[in-house]
Amino acid sequence: MEPRVAVGDYNRSTGDSTLYTTSQNPHVIRLLMGAFVLGIPEHKLRVVAPDVGGGFGSKIFHYAEEALCTFAAKALNRPVKWTCSRSEAFISDAHGRDHVTKIDLALDADNNFTAVRTETYANMGAYLSTFAPSVPTWLHGTLMAGNYKTPLVYVNVKAVFTNTVPVDAYRGAGRPEATYQLERVIDKAAIELGVDPIALRRQNFITEFPYATPVAVEYDTGDYVATMDKLEEMADLSGFEARLAESQAKGKLRGLGVNCYIEACGIAPSNLVGQLGARAGLYESATVRVNATGGLVVMTGSHSHGQGHETSFAQVVADMIGIDENMVEIVHGDTANTPMGMGTYGSRSLAVGGSAMVRATEKIIAKARKIAAHLMEAAEADIELKDGQFSVAGTDKSVAWGDVTLAAYVPHNYPLEEIEPGLEETAFYDPANFTYPSGAYACEVEVDPDTGKVTIERFSAADDFGNIVNPMIVSGQVHGGLAQGIGQALLEGCGYDENGQLLTGSFMDYAMPRASDVPFYSVDHSCQTPCTHNPLGVKGCGEAGAIGSPPSVVNAVVDALRRGGHDVTHVDMPLSPSRVWSAMQG
């Protein structure tokens, strides 16, 4: 949310440039700006992006102001700062979504999905932002199978230039668009066929894994039946009729909407995205430095701008060694003291960055085990690490973590001929596949038939994120994602006049969701099918809420209008009171 800022600084004595910026991926900015814009080699350029106040995608991209400040600082030989005002943010930060899609769903006589076909025009804006074309293509087309075993999927996307602000990745990036189209057309099919929308979905679920979709990706694992079962329980579907009657007694319409989602995140296998046309590798990196007295510094190439890496990453490393989390410091956001990393987006931090950290920590433990074996004069194979103690299996011999780390830096009694002193390791991790979080969401709305105003009465989210490290952080991510998805469904939208002037240039006209616009959520992530290919078995949870929630909101409003006697099958987002009212007028 916080507007962007950039400060350029230049050190005349060393010839080094430093850029402080609000970025989700400082290394990427250093490479793009250094190599492709200003011609500064990476060893003469440092990019610092400390704890940034939210990103949501819009701070992935390289912006002109970053290069201008860096350039001007050198030209003037003094620091140059630029602060974006909120109004400037509206017209210079990349926007999100903006697809025009026609989608067809074919079903056989038994209501099995036989084919999906989409034609999409994706707005790029007036010029290309850093990742713009990847959003409607490989982050969108590859998801069009959804949770369903539809054998044929055809996706045609035309990226078009217009005279709007550039459009690029925004929480979910491409996957919300895919989910929305599919989950809306399924509801439309259910209406036309007169069948229960949940039953129609269940009937077509993919149930065997791994599952190669017709659109280039292979889902490693999932259990869509389990999340739907969970959802049905949470959403209290059997109580709906009673709640409907209550709403009707107040003169309100009430509707129920359900949808599923699948996302490809933990992006991404470098070779796969390379084949799909990306010009970047999407590994992640970590350096684990163990200090002499046993504390650790984890330098991650991942970036934290509200995700809480400082907590969950520290938990993982502390657990692996069996020490207190306070002994682990997470460092991120500075190219000078972190290994080259790709940053945070695409729900990739724990799945990819965390995996790199696990690999580096494994190397640390392997080396520490060798040192412990030497100290206890035992065979390395007999050494066990538990609760911060190395012990020799079947004996009462043990040596503490801190004694081993001290020995690494004071190598008096140390196997110097076999291993080097010191305890610092780096790992780069390139995932074997995307991860595929999935889930089922239900939304219940009331609609005021006189004004078209929609209020969300209940929202339930059953997600499968694989293994979970910190349930509270996961819930928080889901809550935030849901608020954004609900915002997209009901409130948010950029408008332009016929001359291309942005009409929503301030919060007076751009409607942000506020606390009173969202309900108390019911969220659950107890359905867990661990990812099969990363060491933590995690799938990522950062974008799910934003990806999964818009269709259930719209499905619920359409359901409410239909129960209210209006022959409506679709209303375009955002479902503002005036749009919903217009839909009711026929």
Partner: protein
């Protein structure tokens, strides 16, 4: 922001003097509208004359005739808390903006600004209130003059607003989803000599009285009296948040609800 001078007079007389000398000056109430306007360079006075230190234009009282007298410098928060004698008015003030806006913004500033989506103008017009300035008393029906325009002369200060307290009244605001100003707001006030209905947010001409509704409600103060009454959408504001027809429709809905709530 650009540089400007600020003066903080402690009497209306001094404020008027500062506003009438040769420097290009503007009164500053709570600054909730004026300061953003300055930031955007939509206004660039050389000097602001803050009314915040003038005690004469503070305070809420009732005069001998029972009218509620609110000083021109009274904040929305103070009206919300202190205008209990006129609950519909206090309720309106309590729903303007957010706490920060209510703690700074003033009734005088809101009326002088006459934003077509502001709440207070509907209360003033529906109550047939009197806007008192440093030079004269202006009847509500003569005060509002289209969008962002009023009968105030250059340098004239609103010192008080006098409301006759109605037998029944209510304000119904349908919020614009982004700004939470009134997409349509309707204030209905029933007095011994008739009912007044004032509408804000809707018309291209600013706040207005809905004569047909007033006539119908003056005969029978019940929502059913409004059956069949509607407004034409053609003179209504049409924007991103709603068409003229939608606003015209909302006026009828909000009027009905105001009558039910009164």
């Amino acid at each position: 922001m650009y540089t400007f001078d600020i003066e903080r007079p402690s009497t209306v007389g001094d404020a008027v003097k500062l506003l009438s000398d040769s420097t290009e000056s503007q009164p500053l109430g709570g600054g909730q509208t004026l300061i953003p306007t300055l930031k955007q360079r939509l206004a660039m006075p050389d000097r602001l004359v803050s009314l915040g230190g003038i005690t004469e234009i503070q305070g809420i009282s009732q005069d001998d005739g029972g009218a509620l007298c609110i000083g021109g410098g009274v904040t929305h928060a103070d009206v919300a808390a202190g205008a209990g004698a006129y609950a519909a008015l206090a309720g309106l003030a309590g729903k303007i903006g957010d706490p920060a806006v209510r703690n700074r913004g003033t009734i005088g500033g809101s009326l002088a600004n006459n934003d077509p989506s502001a709440c207070y103008p509907s209360a003033v017009l529906a109550s047939g209130a009197t806007v008192v300035t440093n030079t004269r008393e202006i009847a509500a029906d003569d005060f509002f003059d289209g969008l962002f325009t009023t009968a105030l002369e250059e340098g004239e200060i609103i010192t008080e607003v006098r409301f006759a307290v109605p037998q029944k009244a209510a304000y119904m605001k349908f919020e614009q989803p982004a700004s939470r100003f009134a997409l349509v707001g309707v204030f209905v006030a029933k007095y011994a000599d008739g009912v007044r209905v004032a509408v804000t947010g809707a018309s291209e001409g600013g706040v207005f009285r809905w004569a047909e509704a007033e006539a119908a409600l003056s005969t029978n103060f019940a929502a059913s009296a409004l059956d069949g009454l509607s407004l034409d959408g053609s003179g209504m504001i049409s924007d991103l948040h709603g068409s003229g027809d939608y606003r015209a429709h909302l006026v009828a809905v909000m009027t009905r609800r105001a009558v039910e709530a009164a």
